[in-house]
Amino acid sequence: MADHWDTEERGLTLADANRDIMRPIMVSSWRYWTLLAFVFALVVWGCIAWAWQIDQGLGVAGYSHPVMWAVYITSFVFWVGIAHSGTLISAILYLFRSGWRTTINRASEAMTIFAVMTAGLFPLIHLGRTWYFYWLIPYPSERFIWPNFKSPLVWDVFAVGTYFTISLLFWYTGMIPDLAAIRDRLRGWKSKVYGLFSVGWQGTVREWSHYRRAYLYMAAIATPLVLSVHSVVSWDFAMGIVPGWHSTIFAPYFVAGAIFSGMAMVITILVPMRWAFGLEDYITDYHLDNMSKLILLTSLIVAYSYAAEYFITYYSADPTEQASLFFRAHGSFQGPFWVMTFCNVIVPATLWFKKVRRSASAAFVVSIFVNIGMFYERYVIIVSSLAHEYEPYSWGFYRPSWVEISIIVGSFAWFFFWFLLFTKALPTISIAEVKEHLAHQGAHEHG
């Protein structure tokens, strides 16, 4: 087993890279289209559920009086979290010059974009009067009334908006040389379309020089951005006085959690992808190994945060806080709590073993667990805290309704729908960067 990306052994050439990575775009199978159709059907079902909810009012969801936020906000946080690994891999690892990002950054960036697109839906779905969502956006009106910039929800609008824009630009910029390559490979109208998006890239050294800088700076700003976004999201809760939310540990805790879940989702997506498109030469066990290590690390941070939360509460001797966290582990929401602990703390511990890290299937299974665990984490934080607040009179319970479940399913479908389109239309691995890697290797041989 190589502890690096053994391209020589595999005897990859620049031309191979072009050919292999473009294969999905060039050839297509009926399997792909059936899968796409199925996913699309689920999206439609989700939309129907949402339409019903808008028509009837939010009552068709399972909310109760104390629990005013539930699975919608859970999913929002979950998807924003997923979105993080993409930019992390592409930006931070780029700055750290970690070569192994090369083959996974494109897919994970794509995942980021689609995850944000999914996350962005949920605040709208969750609004009581969705049709007035634009009141959260600063626009001049005859009323002289503007959004309240002191509200964390408005911070969200800006944070998520910025994050989406920057990720999109970053992703697109990285893709331009590849688009050019595809343009040159194709003929006819397709070539024209790709040509359009490749902004007439012809890879002169002058182009490369400006491009390189721009890419570098975007990486540089995306790095603080990626850390800020989930901090802002976490402040939606930390700024509240709800026992179980009001904690300073939230920002780092959430960021770690985000990377944790994000990496897991990358594996969840890459393993089937590399199998389906035969990209074993590019996404090797060595890459999986590295990703698994990151998951292991973040899992430890998350585990620490859980412990810290309980310790702080114990140490603060605040009865309501203590009651809330006791309720979390032993109250009506203990099920989700223990699922969360199992999936996020116990299961990832298996990654201590190299065997597990190196086996695609094992890593895949672990990643699935982590995804589930992280969804439950947000669910537990949001719902159980709200259900057990200050006033004993209004302690309550929550159970999601069919509408909520349909919409959640629909949202997952929506995410995969876009990702499937991506795998079909765009290079799932950055050709240019792979070739850069190969070329320089070549150079070393010569020199």
Binding site: Y139, P140, S141, E142, R143, F144, I145
Partner: protein
């Protein structure tokens, strides 16, 4: 060398962008104007010419005249509350030609009523005051439509043989109220009260326009307020004109000071403010508070 150019270009760009972003905030009106389809004044002149052949020419002329002559400017807004005794805006100040325009267009604007009641005739010719019929306006939140008895009071004798009057009498004989068609409709979530406005010496015309020169009442759209009438911004245009006790910055300072109960016994203590200020407050501060209209 090139460095210099970049920096200059950049800073210029920065300032431009920033100002662009801030523009709507600093000039709410310009933004607001965008929300109004067309400029009412212009539209009005056009209609006048279009609809009434000869009066149209006069109308256009008058419109031009109006531009030059007494059209109030935002600096000294004509629609701003006037002291008692001042001539009702538009009543004496409007030229005959302007009145002509008014009448011409009012004949076509606004909904048809079950009885073609003529405000122009009753107020301008008969010099009747608005409150003669809309008696409630000073005592209640609603100005009320006059009870049929009020009309009959005169028209038992006056105006026999006129078709509209006969319709009116018919209603009275049937002991059936006249189903007037609503012209002004404020949103249900706005709690509007007539009485405070009249008590603060607003003229009816301030909001309802030159009703005295309307054959048929229509929803008035002021030229000087480039905002759809009966919208929040339209109200705010007056309410924001009201003298405020302090500008926001100092108000905010006051809040902070008062937060610390400095010099005990002094009047700076929270809650214990000289009533004088409070009275002034009571008189002026309220109109910008959301709860003035929304609850």
């Amino acid at each position: 060398m090139r460095k210099a150019t970049y920096t200059t270009v950049g800073s210029v760009a920065a300032v431009l962008l920033a100002v662009a972003a801030a523009w709507p905030i600093l000039h709410g009106s310009s933004a607001a104007a965008r929300e109004v389809p067309g400029v009412p004044g212009a539209a009005r002149a056009r209609r006048a010419t279009a609809d009434t052949g000869t009066a149209g020419a006069a109308g256009a002329a008058a419109a031009r005249a109006a531009k030059t002559s007494g059209t109030p400017t935002p600096a000294s807004p004509g629609w701003y509350p006037q002291p008692i005794g001042a001539p009702i805006q538009g009543h004496d100040s409007l030229s005959a030609a302007q009145v002509a325009i008014q009448l011409a267009e009012s004949a076509t604007q606004g909904p048809a009523q079950p009885i073609p009641f003529n405000h122009h005739f009753h107020t301008t010719n008969l010099k009747m005051s608005c409150e003669y019929c809309h008696t409630n306006s000073r005592h209640s939140e609603v100005a009320i439509m006059p009870p049929l008895a009020t009309c009959i009071g005169c028209h038992r004798i006056v105006g026999t043989g006129l078709a509209p009057i006969d319709t009116l009498r018919a209603y009275w004989q049937r002991q059936e109220p006249v189903p007037w068609v609503r012209v002004y409709k404020i949103a249900e979530f706005v709690q509007f009260k007539h009485e405070p406005h009249l008590r603060n010496d607003l003229q009816c015309q301030t909001c309802h326009g030159p009703v005295q020169d309307m054959d048929r009442v229509y929803e008035f759209q002021s030229d000087t307020i480039p905002i759809q009438s009966l919208t929040m911004g339209w109200c705010l245009r007056c309410h924001r004109q009201k003298p405020q006790p302090t500008d926001v910055a100092t108000e905010y300072k006051l809040v902070r000071q008062a937060a610390i109960p400095a010099n005990p016994g002094g009047t700076e203590k929270p809650g214990l403010y000289p009533m004088a200020i409070s009275e002034q407050y009571a008189a002026h501060r309220a109109p910008l508070d959301c709860t003035t209209c929304h609850y």
